[in-house]
């Protein structure tokens, strides 16, 4: 019987083109109608080292990477040596005949014969895999046409020849590999990574300015704004340092441009004085923090969820903020859009926490209906209210009318000091209290606008898995696996991690026998926040080895900890 799911690891050195093979195959699978989850694992090097690109594809919806591989595509010997033990039962190794497959069953290929030049080996590998999986040859062929047409017809033709050779070779082998079960009615989906979705969500919200200093894994947010920004009128400036990035974004926002700052923990550490400035100057700002393991340089290309506290407490002084943590690529799009609305609505910094896993994880996503998105809040261009304009007018909501300068005779002041309602420096006690309370009152509005956590599973579970951010998929699937094993398991995912609104989830906590918080750090930062909000958990599953969660990891950890015993 054809398989409904496949898990493929492509491994090799940086510079060997494994990401190209991976992306072409991912897109071919998505165009063929499969659901896909990609996990990328790479080293902090330009060439060499050891990287993997792991594609899990399925006829059914899937949410997370899995551990046991069906295929290990080794572009070098190191991949065989390092990952052979990750092949599941019946797993096959696919590699060049020159490599030693250590007696494991698989396909030994003469890439030399399939590809006229080494540059075409990627396409040969794509053809082999697509053919083995049973993808219609026209799908990768059209993809190659789409990809290489701009390089000329000759190149397209050569690519097609290599693809055909690969398909023909597989047909001759009679390798006995079951193809993937076909998708009955393929639906049009997009292939998109987390950071791409954040950039697109920002563009849908009307982002106009982005300043950044390059840092993995945040750079791709800026890169996507650069790639598509000219068409959408986004100005992206690569600046001298992170401090400039944050302050520039604030300046642009003051002048009326919706502003985005993408960075990672190390860069964000430098930006925090500017976060504080955005807060007191009441300037809207969206900051994307793509987390990677720290402290300091840490594991520069790996993943972790350890910067929640940094973002939650970033900047000196006290002020309200909202922190979103998308769990999927779709959420990355929607929450980036929402972040701009909230930033403008509350005239304060709003954060989107991504991480390396989500940033680089391509998924199959339904096309977005961009026209149905609510228009984000907007500033005024002129003061038409009663009395003289006061930028920091004291209001019940704490939100003052925000006018942007240069469009009318209204004078607009922004100030980093404590200030009078009209924006000038003050040391007055009453004024200080009034302005501080006004700013804090914005927190009430943010509180009313919190995105509720999402819940999947039976109503009174024996175990409730609580996750936030990119851990969603693994936690959801772990709960599914447990249910398949007869355990009453549910999952609760927070895509907004601050503010926390207890009445949105207290009932779920009360109904569960055991509540296990699953997060990618060593100290249970979100669990501690839950406790602060008044929610009691019973256990933790933590991971801080720089690699993302898998459902298997969570289930194993639950068994080990005894959390599944009655």
């Amino acid at each position: 019987m054809p398989e409904k799911t496949v898990n493929i690891m492509i491994g090799g050195a940086a510079g060997q083109g494994l990401a190209t093979v991976g992306q072409l195959l991912t897109k071919s699978l998505i165009r063929s109608g499969y659901h896909v989850v990609v996990r990328q694992d790479y080293m902090s090097r330009v060439r060499g080292g050891h990287n993997t690109y792991i594609i899990r594809a399925s006829v059914d919806e899937i949410y997370a990477p899995r551990e046991a591989m069906d295929f290990l595509v080794a572009l070098n010997q190191e991949t065989v040596d390092l990952h052979l033990n990750e092949l599941g039962d019946g797993g096959l190794i696919i590699c060049d005949e020159a490599l030693d497959s250590k007696g494991r069953p698989g396909l030994s290929i003469s890439f030399k014969d399939l590809a006229p030049k080494p540059i075409f080996q990627n396409v040969a590998a794509l053809g082999l895999l697509a053919s083995l999986l049973g993808l219609d040859r026209d799908v990768p062929a059209k993809l190659l046409t789409d990809t290489f047409t701009k390089k000329g017809e000759a190149i397209v033709k050569q690519n097609h020849e290599v693809l055909d050779a690969a398909y023909a070779w597989v047909a001759e082998q009679n390798a006995g590999i079951e193809p993937l079960a076909p998708v009955p009615a393929p639906v049009k989906r997009l292939m998109m990574g987390g950071n791409e979705a954040i950039a697109l969500g920002a563009m849908a919200a009307g982002v106009k300015f982005c300043s950044f200093y390059p840092m993995t894994p945040a750079t791709s947010v800026a890169q996507n704004l650069i790639t598509h920004g000219r068409e959408l009128g986004v100005v992206v400036e690569q600046v001298e340092d992170e401090i400039a990035a944050m302050n520039m974004a604030i300046g642009a926002s003051y002048a009326g441009a919706r502003s985005l700052v993408p960075t990672s923990g190390g860069g964000f550490a430098l930006m925090t004085e500017g976060v504080s400035l955005a807060a007191v100057a009441e300037t809207p700002l969206v900051c994307v923090v793509a987390m990677r393991p720290g402290p300091a340089t840490g594991l520069p290309t790996r993943t972790e969820q350890a910067d929640l506290n940094l973002v939650l407490y970033a900047g000196h002084g006290e002020y309200p903020r909202a922190i979103f943590a998308p769990g999927t690529v779709e959420e990355a799009f929607r929450l980036a859009h929402r972040a701009f609305d909230q930033a403008e609505r509350y005239q304060s910094p709003v954060f989107v926490l991504s991480d390396q896993f989500l940033a680089d994880s391509f998924r199959s996503v339904e096309p977005f209906d961009t026209r149905s998105l609510p228009a984000p809040a907007s500033p005024l261009k002129e003061w038409a209210g009663e009395g003289p304009y006061e930028r920091y007018a004291v209001t019940d909501s704490g939100v003052s009318p925000r006018v942007i300068p240069g469009f009318s005779e209204t004078l607009v002041v922004g100030d980093s000091h404590e200030h009078t309602p009209d924006g000038h420096i003050t040391e007055d006690i009453e004024m200080r209290i009034e302005q501080k309370q006004k700013r804090l009152r914005k927190g009430c509005g943010l509180w009313e606008d919190v995105v509720a956590p999402s819940y999947i599973g039976p109503e009174s579970p024996d175990v409730l898995l609580v996750s936030w951010g990119s851990t969603k998929g693994a936690a959801d699937e772990a709960a599914m696996d447990l249910r398949a094993d007869g355990v009453q398991a549910a999952s609760l995912h927070f895509s907004q991690v601050w503010p926390l609104k207890l009445d949105q989830f207290a009932a779920k906590f009360d109904a569960a026998k055991k509540i296990v918080v699953v997060e990618g750090n060593a100290t249970g930062q979100f669990a501690a926040l839950l406790k602060l909000a008044g929610a009691q958990y019973t256990g933790l599953v933590l991971k801080y080895d720089g690699r993302p969660f898998t459902p298997e990891y969570i289930v194993t950890a639950l068994h080990k900890s005894g959390a599944l015993e009655a």
């Binding site: 165009r31 049009k188 997009l190 292939m191 791409e196 697109l200 563009m203 849908a204 009307g206 106009k208 300015f209 598509h228 920004g229 068409e231 959408l232 009128g233 986004v234 100005v235 400036e237 600046v239 001298e240 340092d241 401090i243 400039a244 990035a245 302050n247 520039m248 974004a249 604030i250 300046g251 642009a252 003051y254 002048a255 009326g256 441009a257 004085e273 500017g274 400035l277 100057a281 096309p367 977005f368 961009t370 026209r371 500033p379 261009k381 942007i404 300068p405 240069g406 469009f407 009318s408 005779e409 209204t410 004078l411 607009v412 002041v413 922004g414 100030d415 000091h417 000038h424 420096i425």
Partner: protein
């Protein structure tokens, strides 16, 4: 027509006799000469006594953080190229804390004017050495005298071929107003380094000290000659040349960004057709 009263009258927190008063008078004169009304420009600053200047002038203003005036100011200008942008910043702010931003701003060449109130001391924090304090000068925090070589902002700016570099003196308001006006009319990043006596904490570089040394550049001085400008910029001793020291006309950064041709960024609506076209690339 704009009147000088339009810029308002304010009580300041500056010491009596502070050089900042002369600078603010010159700023008013320069704005008036260009007929720029308070709502027609943005005045940006960082932290320090100089940085309070925008609070003492009716205008659009953004008073940000120490050393960070330039990133804010450049972004304001990039977001709305209809607005002239003026920055008031001290030597500690622009040459110390914000040194990297200063270098980057010179390179980037956004059309704006930096007025560096250079009093060669930290005034607001009561008298520590600044990047421009002279070697050997004794302060409470440098009791053995400053060991470091002073930063020469004018020489650095000329060395980097900053598109407009002038030096003036807070004690000569006419000259200063003229330099500010020239700087604001210049297309590109313009530095006006302003020698400014700190009457409370710098007992060396006083009005008398500067007056004794400051010499206006001769009428036939050619500010487009880089080698001459480097030699002129290097002079800071018995003779301190004042005036437009170096100038190089080149396109400002704004002209390099096609997205800005459509007017202020705040005015641009989201192009959903374009967005949908972009999304199709992900199929």
């Amino acid at each position: 027509m704009v009147k000088i009263e339009d810029y308002g009258e304010f009580t300041t927190s500056w010491c009596p006799g502070c050089g900042n008063f002369g600078i603010m008078q010159a700023v008013r004169q320069a704005l008036l000469a260009q007929d720029i009304a308070p709502h027609q420009f943005v005045y940006v600053s960082g932290i320090g006594q100089a940085a309070k200047a925008p609070h003492y002038l009716r205008s659009n203003m953004f008073n940000g953080l120490h050393g960070r005036a330039l990133p804010v100011a450049q972004a304001v200008r990039l977001s709305n190229t209809n607005l002239p942008v003026l920055v008031s910043s001290g030597d500690g702010c622009s040459y110390g804390e914000g040194g990297n931003h200063f270098l980057a701003a010179v390179r980037r060449n956004v059309n704006m004017t930096l007025l560096a109130h250079n009093n060669q001391i930290y005034g607001l924090t009561k008298g520590q050495a600044s990047p421009t304090t002279m070697t050997g000068q004794v302060t409470k925090t440098q009791p053995l005298g400053v060991a470091a070589t002073p930063f020469n902002p004018v020489a650095v700016a000329v060395a980097m071929k900053c598109s407009f570099v002038a030096r003036s003196f807070a004690g000569d308001t006419e000259h200063l107003a003229q330099m500010i006006e020239l700087a604001m009319r210049h297309e590109g990043f313009a530095l006006v380094d302003i020698l400014q006596p700190c009457v409370s904490f710098n007992k060396i570089n006083t009005y008398a000290w500067y007056k004794e040394r400051c010499v206006n550049l001769p009428d036939d001085y050619d500010p487009t000659d880089w080698s001459v400008a480097m030699q002129t910029a290097d002079k800071f001793g018995d003779e301190i040349p004042l005036g437009l020291i170096y100038k190089q006309d080149r396109p400002s950064y704004e002209t390099h960004i096609p997205q800005l041709a459509n007017g202020p960024l705040a005015q641009a609506a989201t192009d959903f057709d374009a967005l949908d076209r972009v999304l199709e690339k992900f199929v």
